[in-house]
Amino acid sequence: MALQYLENGEILENEVVGPDTWRMAIRAPKITDAAQPGQFVMVAVGHESSDPLLRRPLSIHRAENDVLTLLYRIVGKGTKLMSHMKRGEDISLLGPLGKGFQLHATEHHCLVGGGLGVAPLLFLAKEIKRRLPDEKMTILLGGRNSKELLVLADFQHVAPVLVATDDGSQGLHGLITALLDQEISGPATIYTCGPSPMMKGVASLARHRNWPCQVSLETMMACGMGACLGCTVQRAGIDETEKKYVHVCKDGPVFEAGEIWL
């Protein structure tokens, strides 16, 4: 079994980086050291209260020098509580969890992220650059508007970035799938994370173009470690055994697009 830790990290930074979007940096040497791009952590948000009860899954945004970074959007109680946490406080993390992105040599690494889906892609981009420094990489980012293009500069430090916005306030006026369609030609490997309609679009284009495509999924999770069987998505193809479903926390969150029902 892969190494997993329950680690109390010290919050080094917790700040706003976009609309309702925060970034938290945590000193957590054990998890940071073991982390692979595409993996996630389960974060305890509730202190001694039983409401909220469960940990919250968040992708590993960066993992460098003993410091794990999370990028999160306030959507409910748990993420709101996280945004109230202060530098110096402890936070309990469980991780690294799940199966991340698979890195293979390819002519062209294309990272396609929408909205908060950019969270795991920065770690991935940095790893590609570190481990496969000579290979071509392009990063495509989408958002509703220019403000929703999160941590853009961080990506630009790693590789060339192309952007699309729904309102045209920056980059291509339109969907990120259109950007992908226009800008990328020839063989490539796609890594994508974002809202589910976006990933569907990206996966279908990839199938069309014969690009291998890895998608990073989200589902509701109770445990994050394969114990509750709560985090299912359906496998592509019909099967009436217990193998009909895969578990996002253990078999994923990253899957080959063809493997599952998107």
């Binding site: 079994m1 039983s50 469960l54 940990r55 445990c223 114990a227 359906q234 055994t241």
Partner: protein
Amino acid sequence: MAVDTSVNIGDLNLANPIMTASGTFGYGEEFTPFVNLSSLGAIVVKGISLNPRPGNPPPRVVETASGMLNAIGLQNVGVDRFITEKMTMIRTLGAKVVVNILGDSLDDYRELAARLDDVDGIAAIEVNISCPNVKKGGVAFGTDPLMAAKVADVVVRQSSRPVIIKLSPNVTDITVIARAVEEAGVTAISLINTLMGMAIDIRTARPKLANIIGGLSGPAIKPVALRMVYQVASVVKIPVIGIGGITTLDDVIEFMMAGATAVQIGTANFVNPAVSGELVVGFKKYLEDSGRSTATELIGCVLR
């Protein structure tokens, strides 16, 4: 002072009263980074049926105030693969293992019990009777004293090991069911399974669970569980195993005082995967600090 943390479930001696609850601890394996499984009283593995089951479509879990709803749909590999694949792994864990079983019919339960009776490395069988009886139009076995007793009876007859029967809380009078299964000869009673609950996503106007209704667990249900353990322990002579929202050492002590001989930790494992091991350590310390020399002194002291 040397304290004796052990408790007995019939002939089964547990090093301490801390067990883990079925469906919340996988097959044990997932928790090895966080808990020394051999330090636990016992682990109860995910419910096993005769045939493999895919379980329900997603979403399967949703959080509620101090609790969660689940509708996993009893996904499992089926008894054959359980025996050939899982048990081989489980025997290496060094834990006392209780196997939880579930069926659609009396025949299912009978056959499961028979199949498992030959398998090495099982300390006891726990029978989940919260499942629908397909022959009786889907009414849960556990909601009818006669049906519950029949299930208990067939499993007891097929098993040379201790049989624990796990009660559903979704009943008018839990003591009637408890007495019925006691009469049928089970070794112990565990309770409670989840309360039936529901949640709605108001943006879509659809239930949050694909299955519409799910089982409520976690701290929210603790008061109901404790009440039922108290009621059952007041009327039966066999050991009672308390389950429902147990998270802290105080919770463990409350359930034992209410009459539980042992307890099972469920949802709390998701919040803190190390909790079961921590409770073993905490329980020993509690006994030492409180000047009690045995765990058994605690059992049912509210009843006396």
